[in-house]
Structure formats: C-alpha cells, structure tokens
C-alpha cells in the first residue's frame, strides 16, 4: 500500500477533502453541463483519427477534441512553447476555477498546490522537434523542446500562470496517476496546502505518442468507431485512446464552506497497489488480487462497507484478461454485491487515455452523484461470458451516495478512489450558471 488514510467518510467534517470545482474537456463536450448532457445521451466521441495520416499506422480510431477554443486560454506566445496536452490542462483549469468560484488571488501562493498526472506528456511536440533535428539539423530544434515535452510541463505552466508557490508535482504511472493525484492532493492539504489544482489531460494523437503504447498490444486497431472499443464485450479488440481530460479544485471542507461554496463531492478514501507481472497473470484470481486489495483498502479508509458502493466507474481495458481480472476484483472485494452493483465505463465515449480518462472518470462520478444518474457505457454487442456484472448501457436514475472509481496502469498499477455525496450537496446547476457571484 502506498497511502495513509484520508480524512473523510463523514461528509462535512472540517478536514474532509472535497472537490469544489471541476471541468471535463472531452471529445463529446467541455465544461460539466455540456459533457454531462452528451454523456447521458449516449453520445460517442470516437471517430477516425484526423490529427495525422493513419495510412501507414495500425491505429485508426480515437476520441479527438474539436470544440475547444484553445487560443482563448493560451495566447500564441505560450502556444509555441507548449504541447497540446499542456494547453488542454491550462484551458480545463480555467473552467475548473470558474466552476469552483475560486479566486486564487485570495489565497496564499504558498498554500496553492498543483498536482497533475500524465501518461503521454508532450510527445507530439517532441516528435515535431525530433523530426526537425533529423531533417534540418540541431539548430532547427525549438528551444521550447527543453520545457514543452517532458511530463512536468503542465504542472509547471499551471503554477507559473497562477502564481502558485506550494507543493508541485506530476504523477507518471499510466492511468492510475489520474486517481493517485487526488491522494497526493489530500496529503498536500494535510500538510498546509489550502487549495490544490488537480487532474490530468492527455494529447497522445501523434504517431510517436501512440507508438509508445503500441507495444502493450492493448490499443484497438479496429477501424470502425462503433465497435473499436467495447469494454467487457465478447471478443473485445482492446481500447481506443483519445485526448482531453479533466481538471479540478480540491480543498478542505472548511475552506470551501468559508468561501461560501457548496462542495461537489467528498474524496473519502483511496488506495493504490502494484502487482507487477501478476497484473496480466492467466489466472484471473491472481491478476485481480492487487486491484481487489486497493478497493478493499480504499473503502476501509472511507469508512464504507462493500455494500455501500452504489456505482463503479471501471477501468474497462477492453481486453479479455484485464476485463476478467476487473470483474473478479469486484467479486473479491465486494462479494456478491460485485455482480449486482451498477458498473459503467464512460470512457467508452471519450477514450481510455492514460491518466486523463481516470481523472475524467472522477468528474463523471461526481456528476453522477450530483444528478443521481448512472451515466452509460457507450458500447454495443454482447458482453463477454465472464463479465458477470451489471454494465449500464443507457443512463439510469439511481440513489447514489458512494461511487468507486478504478484505474489500472501498464505494468501493474492499480488505484481505487471512493467519492461520496456531500451531506449538503450543491444544487446541480448553481456552479455552471453562476461562476462569478
């Protein structure tokens, strides 16, 4: 286990860690209201890749973001110095601050933390400059290669833009980082931080970036967007990636209350494990053990029983063995409840994009708790015979108090995050309609 207990599980305790602002940025829409409406309607953002010519590339389908005005959030002087992934992070953070009604000027700069997660970094930027190196020589390489391509770039640009001088970091551990970032934020809040900018974005739609993950054999090479990614599906062909993500403001319940803002949700518990080669064991019980252990520990830290879980946001790798391991982990950790609790994979609509889709799942889970609706998994076709779960495929109203979000990363990372509805939840429309009271 990597973590110590988080405060929480009791809603509005002063030191409970709460999400006060959130902003999805996705292929089906950006901002909480737009994203949620598209998600519950079953909209899919998967399409043929247009960001580069896939003629000679095995991956054909992804979730591309088209409707975001990046120029509005990132002027051209910064645009030439940043990868698209960082620009997504800057744009999403602007939306998250507005949603959380946060005026960072009112915070002590040393009390503002920036914690992002990244799986792909600035690979598109890097590919462009490496191409310049080999075709035109070293003098053609942009000086900004030195700050744009590496994993910490988004955290760095966020802290520069917002003048934060508190704890900074980036978690690089595939999908799990998108959840572990919240645990890191909770640690920061326990050690003096007042507010953390938290989340993850990705922009891996370049040949080099995708080549980095091709070796896993898990990226779908199917060419039909309607069937390329079918988590828990019979004969699933792997996962489809995408671009975008989600950013959040996270603070203590007392801080949120003092600002007069109602929290979206409580970050009640978290645990992470690493199981190395056992992650892909042919024996599903062995492959599931690490994830089950993370779920059990996260629930214990939230003070929640397995039966308290009202909805599961699954990793949904879309690969037979990993899907079966996840189903088995739910059974091991939740018992019979694991077969009947609603399970959903919203990333079927927006891509399974390393750290960013785990962060986006947090946004989806928070919105599910607010709206009391389980968002659907945008897939068709029969489930795998071993998928003994209640996979939600059309939006389903439900009484939701506790959500479990899961993420797994290449090579053995497992992470489980428990979110709970605050005891006095915010009205579902207040934040969107009234960003600047």
């Amino acid at each position: 286990m990597m973590t110590t207990p988080l405060p929480g599980g009791s809603g509005e305790r002063d030191d409970a860690v709460v999400i006060s602002g959130l902003a999805p940025l996705t292929a089906i829409g950006s901002g909480a209201a737009t994203y949620w409406a598209a998600l519950v309607a079953g909209t899919s953002g998967l399409s043929k890749i247009t960001r580069f010519d896939t003629e000679t590339f095995p991956v054909k389908v992804a979730a591309e973001v088209h409707d975001v005005d990046l120029a509005a959030a990132v002027d051209r002087r910064l645009a030439v110095a940043t990868d698209r992934w960082t620009q997504f992070g800057l744009a999403a953070t602007e939306l998250a601050l507005a949603d959380g009604q946060v005026d960072l000027a009112a915070f002590d700069p040393y009390g503002v933390a920036v914690i992002t997660a990244s799986g792909s970094g600035g690979n598109e930027f890097g590919q462009r400059e490496i191409a310049a190196l080999w075709t035109r020589g070293p003098k053609a390489v942009s000086v900004y290669q030195s700050i744009a391509w590496f994993y910490a770039a988004t955290t760095g640009q966020l802290s520069i833009r917002h003048g934060s001088k508190g704890m900074c970091g980036v978690l690089v551990e595939g999908a799990a980082g998108g959840l572990d970032a919240f645990a890191q934020a909770a640690r920061a809040l326990r050690s003096g931080t007042d507010l953390a900018l938290v989340g993850a974005t990705e922009a891996p739609l370049s040949p080099y970036a995708l080549t980095c993950v091709l070796g896993s054999g898990l990226l779908s090479t199917a060419s039909d967007p309607a069937t390329a990614y079918r988590p828990f599906g019979a004969g699933a062909a792997g996962y489809v990636t995408g671009e975008g993500g989600a950013m959040f403001t996270v603070e203590r319940a007392s801080s949120c209350r003092d600002r007069g803002v109602a929290p979206h949700a409580v970050v009640a518990g978290h645990a992470a494990t690493h199981d190395g080669r056992r992650h892909r064991s042919a024996d599903p019980e062995i492959a599931a053990a690490g994830l089950a252990e993370a779920i059990t520990a996260a629930l214990a830290r939230a003070g929640a029983a397995s039966g308290d879980v009202d909805v599961v946001f699954a990793d949904g790798a879309g690969a037979g063995d990993l899907d079966q391991a996840e189903v088995t982990a739910l059974r091991l950790a939740l018992g019979a409840h694991g077969a009947t609790v609603p399970v959903t994979v919203p990333k079927a609509a927006t891509g399974r994009m390393e750290a960013a889709s785990a962060a986006l799942d947090v946004a989806a889970a928070v919105l599910a708790l607010e709206h009391q609706v389980v968002p659907p998994t945008a897939t068709t076709g029969p489930l795998a015979a071993t998928a003994e779960i209640d996979l939600v495929r059309t939006a389903r109203p439900a009484s939701l108090g506790t959500a479990l979000v899961l993420a797994r990363g290449h090579g053995g990372f497992n992470s489980a995050l428990v979110l709970q509805r605050p005891s006095h939840p915010s009205p579902t429309t207040t934040h969107e309609e009234n960003p600047n009271p």
Binding site: D75, R77, L78, A79, K139
Partner: protein, 90 residues
C-alpha cells in the same frame, strides 16, 4: 547585408515565438523591450536561433544577456554585419 534583411530576420524570430504582427509592432514601438512583449529569456534564445537561420549571423547566448530589446538585437546584428560586408567588399 543591409538593415532591411537583418530587420526581416528579427521579425521572423519574433513571429516564431508568437509575437503577432511583429513588423508593425517594431515600427510603432521602436523602443519596445522583450519584457514589454512578454518574451522571456528562452524566447530570446529562440529568436536568436531563427535569426541565425534567416541571415547566418549567430548571437552567442552570453551576448543575449545584455540585449533586452529587439532594437538592441538589431543594433548588435548591424555591428556584426558591417565588418562582414567590408570583408566581402574587399
């Protein structure tokens, strides 16, 4: 190499770091500094690299420390280019 060639190289460098309409900016605000334009030290190095691309004159990073405005860079280029011109003419 005449002043307009060097000015064009400087403009190309400014455009490369995201200063839109650089030619007009320099015409309207001849005393503008890199700080005024929100161009940081990395940006100045990038500008120097593009200038070298355009006109073949390299400005060492160490010399850039003292050049805090486009006008100062242009003066530097003119000073460097002049002996080159003389050498070429002889």
């Amino acid at each position: 190499m005449n002043e307009s060639t060097l000015l064009a190289a400087l403009v190309a460098g400014l455009e490369a770091v995201g200063v839109d309409g650089a030619a007009a900016v320099l015409a309207e605000r001849p005393g503008v500094t890199f700080a005024d334009l929100d161009v940081d030290s990395l940006g100045v190095i990038e500008i120097a690299a593009r200038i070298e691309d355009e006109c073949g004159i390299a400005v060492p990073d160490a010399d850039l420390d003292d050049l805090d405005s486009p006008a100062a860079v242009l003066d530097h280029l003119l000073a460097v280019a002049a002996p080159v011109e003389l050498a070429g003419a002889s």
